[in-house]
């Protein structure tokens, strides 16, 4: 009999998280990735994602934060090989587990998707075919990726439905429309996790759900992620969710990553003006309610064509911002792309020099 749950991937003695992150090699490495849309005449139209670098270590939960049009979903689509036809990766590499994903054949990509990289989308209705029972769909998915008998597949599916805290037997024999949104998203989570993937891409998994439901689902995701030590790329526009749960964060604006680093670090010392404003410009539950919220000027569509994408909305922008800032380290595992920081550093250097 095959074992239902493969525990072999679970590390025997789990090191302390931070230490663990520093040690291991990245599971996913995105290098210099650019995505452009192509018009009707096969001419490069708009650069939507501009030279981004990202890496996820095994077992790490990375939050990708940004507004609509920031390119966060496109990045996810690119790494899943699901970009629409009009969009193309023009530059860069996506290395997953030592393998190059760009230019991978559709067949290989399909084998990879689901099996090693699982994905959960915002649209939970779309995760399941409406007229087939959940159980049957899970079994079919299992059998298409693994050699497994029907009984075993059923056992495995039931087990995973239980693991996501659903009434397994009942859900197994239900049609998708008989379940609530939260239940469906849990079932989608089970479908994603039952292959014990190395990486889960969760694109706004709870945006369509209620506050309490999304909390429980994200908590569940975190628990299972820890238990099976898979990496998660959590894409969200909800800063709360990301700050609360991820190990590290990358903030995107207008197709560029403006700041990335460990979550705690960024929460405490955000450096980039955009991150700072994002953290301030949202109502936060507190005993003292501010009279006015800090406002980010402009609209999300306002993206500078050259240089720093945030320049047009940035209160600190100056002439230098028309040149694209490079990613610079500003602390332990904390990088930003902003000129203002340099000049600040220059200033402090200068002033400190004066002192001496």
């Amino acid at each position: 009999m095959t074992t239902l749950v493969d525990f072999s991937r679970k590390p025997t003695n789990e090191p302390v998280k931070g230490e663990f992150l520093l040690q291991s090699l990245p599971l996913l490495e995105i290098k210099n990735l650019s995505i452009s849309s192509f018009g009707t005449k096969k001419k490069e139209d708009i650069k939507l994602v501009k030279n981004i670098n990202l890496s996820i270590k095994p077992g790490e939960m990375l939050g990708l934060v940004g507004e609509s049009g920031s390119g966060k979903s496109l990045t996810a689509c690119a790494l899943l090989g699901l970009l629409p036809k009009s969009l193309k990766v023009t530059e860069g590499q996506i290395k997953f587990h030592g393998r190059e994903l760009i230019n991978l054949s559709e067949k290989d990509m399909r084998r990879l998707r689901g099996n090693e990289i699982a994905y959960i989308f915002q649209n939970y209705q779309g995760s399941f075919t409406p007229f087939i029972k959940i159980g049957k769909q899970l079994i079919e998915a299992l059998r298409s990726h693994q050699k497994i008998s029907k009984q075993d597949a059923k056992k495995k599916a039931l087990l995973w439905l239980e693991r996501v805290k659903l009434p397994a037997n009942q859900v197994f024999s239900s049609y998708p429309h008989q379940l609530s949104g939260g239940q469906l998203q849990r079932a989608a989570l089970a479908a994603a996790l039952m292959f014990q993937p190395l990486l889960i891409v969760a694109d706004e998994p709870t945006t369509a759900l209620d506050v309490l439901t999304s909390e429980t689902i994200l908590d569940l995701l975190v628990d299972l992620q820890k238990e099976y030590n898979c990496a998660v790329l959590l894409i969200s526009h909800n800063l709360n969710h990301v700050l609360k749960r991820t190990d590290s964060i990358a903030v995107m604006y207008g197709g560029q990553i403006v700041e990335k680093g460990l979550t705690n670090e960024i929460r405490k010392n955000p450096f980039h003006p955009y991150t700072k404003l994002l953290l301030q410009a949202r109502p936060v539950l507190s005993r003292v309610v501010p009279e006015k919220l800090v406002v980010i000027p402009g609209e999300p569509g306002l993206v500078a064509k050259e240089g720093c994408a945030f320049a047009h909305r940035c209160p600190k922008s100056f002439i230098k911002c028309s040149i694209l800032p490079k990613m610079k380290s500003v602390g332990d595992s904390h990088w930003i792309a902003c000129h203002a920081k340099d000049s600040e550093a220059d200033d402090t250097n200068a002033s400190s020099k004066k002192c001496f």
Partner: protein, 254 residues
Amino acid sequence: MLQVKNVSKSYRLTPVLNEITFQMQQGESLGLIGESGSGKSTMAKLIVGLEHADGGQITLNDVDFQELRGAELRKARRHVQVVFQDPLASLNPKLPVWKSIIEPLENYPDVVPSFLKEVRNDRKKMAGILLEKVGLDRNLLERYPHQLSGGQRQRVGIARGISLQPNLLICDEPTSSLDVSIQAQILNLLKELKKEFNMSYLFISHDMASVQYMCDRIAVFKQGVLVDLFLSKDLFSDTRHPYTKTLVEVTVES
């Protein structure tokens, strides 16, 4: 000003609202918070008279909306206006924004809001003033909704909402379809306008933090029942309903 007394409503035998009772004073803002399906949007529809309650009474300035029909109801509606959740869906895609904004003013020719007194006969000028009130440039007047960004559209929706200078403005999740960086702009704008026109707000949301920011009092709905009603400053009090406490717990940052 607004009195809701024992209001119940059900759709096809499923109860949506159960014996809801609350009051609002002029100039006060009340937050309605709850999950989807808790009946908070239905409450809003009942107050505007878009739907009729099965039982109970809703009176605004001592006028009972439930008993009005047709022209009478239309007349009474000028005191309540709504800012909708999805600004793209709530603006007619085939009309330029200025026409959408002043439509209520066209429908009520005898209403003269104080800030439009001088230009009441000039439709474009009225639309221009309203646009400026919500922080938009006049040159957007001729644009169509699809040519605006999400934040601009919601500002247009707000301009329409305040055009009649209503006593009560119902904001039905006004920021939930907007980007994070726009949310603060819209909330600030709503707060400023409230002060300027001394309107009352019924602020519907599922986000405890924005409700706390916007409102004097908070009403918590759960499955059609009003489980908790309290002053915003008592949000963290120990006497809160357990459901309110869970809502607070998940919203507070660790």
